[in-house]
Symmetry: C2
Subunit: 207 residues, 2 copies
Amino acid sequence: MKLPATTVARLSKYRRMLGSFNYENTYIFSHNLAKLLNLTPEQVRRDLMLIGLTGNHRKGYNIKELIELIGKTIDSEMGHNVAIVGMGNLGVAITAFIRRAKTNLNIVAAFDIDSEKIGRKVEDVTCYHVNDITDIVKNLNISIAVLTVPPGEAIDVATLLINSGIKGILNFTSVHIDVPSHVYLKDSNIITSLEEIGFFIKEWDKK
Amino acid sequence: MKLPATTVARLSKYRRMLGSFNYENTYIFSHNLAKLLNLTPEQVRRDLMLIGLTGNHRKGYNIKELIELIGKTIDSEMGHNVAIVGMGNLGVAITAFIRRAKTNLNIVAAFDIDSEKIGRKVEDVTCYHVNDITDIVKNLNISIAVLTVPPGEAIDVATLLINSGIKGILNFTSVHIDVPSHVYLKDSNIITSLEEIGFFIKEWDKK
């Protein structure tokens, strides 16, 4: 199914928002869902139509059906196997964060270069040496890597991951990573986000 | 200056990328900068024209000038005062991450509810009780909050921050936060990002 990245991100948000309700036999109108997420009803209806769902005019969308269909659309049946690469503060915190959220993402490995960590479990995930990335990615069928290494290591480690056959990278470093067209890269750049916020509130202050 | 959020994010990236060079008296062509960041030269030229910079046809852009002008455009003169709200693993890790990056963002306070942390310094930042947000935000002139509290606390704490006069929020929780139009919200949703990556690599696998 061809869907824009922005639609996929919104579907993920619809599910998360509606999942917090007690939704047995409950319906929701597009305008209510839109209001909860600061979107327009048209946007919500368009997204849901893209995955083949149309609401009932009088009752709206069946929430259970909606959540299941979003799951069928965006989740992989077996779930994706994920590795956290770089078990400093940020890597450990993100591991805990993902494990606590209910998703079908399986964190199956962590990587670091610190011999104190290698072979141990951190947040219930075994930590391997970065040198073993190629073997472990293949053996454990890891498809997504979360990159939380120091900036100086980012390019080398990303290259290693890509050569090992990783398919997706969530990049928390401030370093620009070049990926081939068969690898999906998503940047989560904390500094860029803060600088963007900073610019807009500076502009508002001028008014 | 009116700039789209995407332009501001790219300007922040140009600066970060070029800042890593030894750039005294060095010039760069738009097509080189574009290539470093996987953009088109037209995009780079358009962004830089928006902040009033045109390159020299034979030499390109003076890197020092470019970095300074981006700073003048997106940075606030005094820097922004930032608070980290929620000093769990993720909050502590993000505090360390921001402090290590060279920016003009000043982390001046942290907030939590854990009495073990209140009054102590974590990563060199004093931790206050969430109940004191209103006073501290005003006294320390905090304009940006990084929200790293548990999901169940997100709405209440965000409301407290907004009522205290915060101007920007970087939201790391998976919870949707409603903000009034004078507050700039940026979501950094780890789960949504991973689900987006998961969807695209699942689609690629089908081919």
